[in-house]
C-alpha cells in the first residue's frame, strides 16, 4: 500500500530517490516517488541536488562492468539506421515509447512562483524573469504581434523576436508523475523543444528560440516525467505556429 511521505521527511525521500536512480523501486514506492517528483522535488533544492547526485552515481556504476568492444557490425548497422531515418523524421502520433532517463530531461526552475523547464529550443539562457513575462505580455498586446491560442496557452511572436513565447495562466497541472512536453512540427517531422509544468499558481512562461516561420505548428503532449522524448504522443493542445 502506498504511504504518503511528508515533504519534511528527507530521510525517506532520499531512500526513494536512491531506489529511483537505480531503477529498482517497487510499484508502490514508484507511485509515491512520482508524486514527490511532481509536488515536492521541483521546489526543493536539497532534493534536486540529491537526485542529481544519485543519478550521477548510478550512471557511474556502469563503469564497474568490464568494457567490451562491440561486434564490428554494430556501427555499420547504426549507420544504416541513420541513413534510413534522418533525425526528427519520427512517426506521427504513434504511441510514445517511454524510457525513463533518471530526470535527465525534466528541469524545473522555480522563480518567484514561476516554474518552467527547458529543452532543446528552450535553453538554459531562456529562464524568464518577471520582467521577461511582462515583456511577453506586452509583445502580445502590440499591433504587429501574432498571437495564437493553443488550449489554455498562447503562442506570441513578433517581427525580430527570433523565436516565440508560450505563455498561459490558470493552466492545470499535468497528472502526477507527468509533464507537459512541447514539440515543433513541420510536415511529418516532430522536434522536441522541452518539458514544462505550470507554477503552483498555474502560470506557464516559456521562451522558445525556434523561428516560427520554419515550423507548421506547435503541439503539447503529456508524457511521463523523465521519459526520453523519442516521439510525441497524442497532442492535447496544438496550434499553427505564431
Amino acid at each position: 500500500m502506498t504511504t504518503t511521505v511528508p515533504p519534511s521527511d528527507h530521510e525517506t525521500i532520499d531512500a526513494l530517490l536512491a531506489g529511483y536512480a537505480l531503477r529498482s523501486l517497487g510499484p508502490d514506492d514508484a507511485t509515491e516517488l512520482d508524486r514527490l517528483l511532481t509536488d515536492h522535488v521541483p521546489a526543493c533544492g536539497e532534493c534536486r541536488t540529491t537526485l542529481d547526485a544519485f543519478a550521477a552515481i548510478a550512471a557511474d556504476l556502469a563503469l564497474d562492468a568490464p568494457p567490451v568492444t562491440p561486434p564490428e557490425t554494430l556501427l555499420p548497422r547504426l549507420h544504416q539506421q541513420l541513413e534510413a531515418r534522418s533525425r526528427w523524421s519520427l512517426p506521427r502520433w504513434e504511441p510514445t515509447r517511454v524510457v525513463a532517463v533518471a530526470a535527465s530531461v525534466m528541469i524545473v526552475a522555480g522563480l518567484g512562483g514561476l516554474a518552467l523547464s527547458r529543452g532543446a529550443g528552450v535553453p538554459a539562457g531562456a529562464t524568464l524573469s518577471a520582467a521577461d513575462i511582462s515583456q511577453a505580455q506586452e509583445f502580445a498586446a502590440q499591433p504587429d504581434a501574432t498571437s495564437v491560442e493553443m488550449g489554455p496557452l498562447t503562442e506570441v511572436s513578433a517581427p525580430g523576436l527570433g523565436g516565440f513565447y508560450v505563455i498561459g495562466e490558470g493552466v492545470a497541472p499535468p497528472p502526477p508523475g507527468s509533464v507537459y512536453r512541447l514539440w515543433a512540427v513541420q510536415g511529418d517531422v516532430a522536434r522536441y523543444l522541452g518539458d514544462f509544468v505550470p507554477s503552483p499558481s498555474g502560470v506557464v512562461a516559456l521562451q522558445v528560440f525556434v523561428d516560427p516561420s520554419a515550423i507548421d505548428r506547435v503541439i503539447v503532449t503529456i508524457e511521463r516525467a523523465g521519459s526520453f522524448p523519442t516521439s510525441p504522443g497524442a497532442p492535447i493542445w496544438q496550434a499553427g505556429a505564431a
Binding site: R23, L25, V68, T69, L75, L78, R87, V101, S104, R118
Partner: protein
Amino acid sequence: MPPDDPDDLALHRRLVSGDRDAFDDLYRRYAPTAYGVAYRLVGQQLLAQDVVHDAFLALWRVPEAFDPTRGAFRTFFLSLVHHRAVDTIRREERLRARTERAANLEPLVDEDPADTVTERSYLGIRRTQVRSALDELSADQRRVLEMAYDEGKTQVRIARELGIPLGTVKTRTLAAMRKLRTLLEDDE
C-alpha cells in the same frame, strides 16, 4: 554537480548540429562501456547489441534530451543504456524467453579490458575511482546494489530473495549510495 568532460560536451554540441563524425567519435568513446554494462545485465550478446544500438540511435535522434546544465554527458548516456538494459531484462522475463542468466552467460568472443586511448585518458580514470569506491562498501550494501543495478531487480524482489524486510533493503541501498556519493564527489 560533477564537471563534465569538455571533449564530451564538444562532441555533443556537434551532434546537435547533425555531425555524423561526432556521432562516430561518441560511439568510439562510449560503446565499449555501454556494451560491457549491457552485457553484464542482459547476459546475451544479441540483446546487449540491441540495447547499445537503441541507446545510440536515441542519442542521434534526440541529442537535445541531454541538458548540460543537469549533469555530465556520461551520466545521461550511461543512464540511458542502463535503463534500456533493465527494460530488456524485465521484458524478457515477462516473455519467459530468458533462462537463468547467471547460469547461462554466453562467453564473449572478444572480451577485452578496452585498453584504448579513451579508457586511459578519461573513462578509465573514473572507472578506477568507481571500483575503489565500491570496495569501500560493506558486503551487505554491495549485494543490494548489485541486485538492483546489475540484475535489474526491484527492491521488493531483492527483499524477498534475501529474506529481509523491504525497509532493510532501502536502508542498505541509501547507505551505499550516500557512501559512494561521498567517495566519488571527493574524487571529482
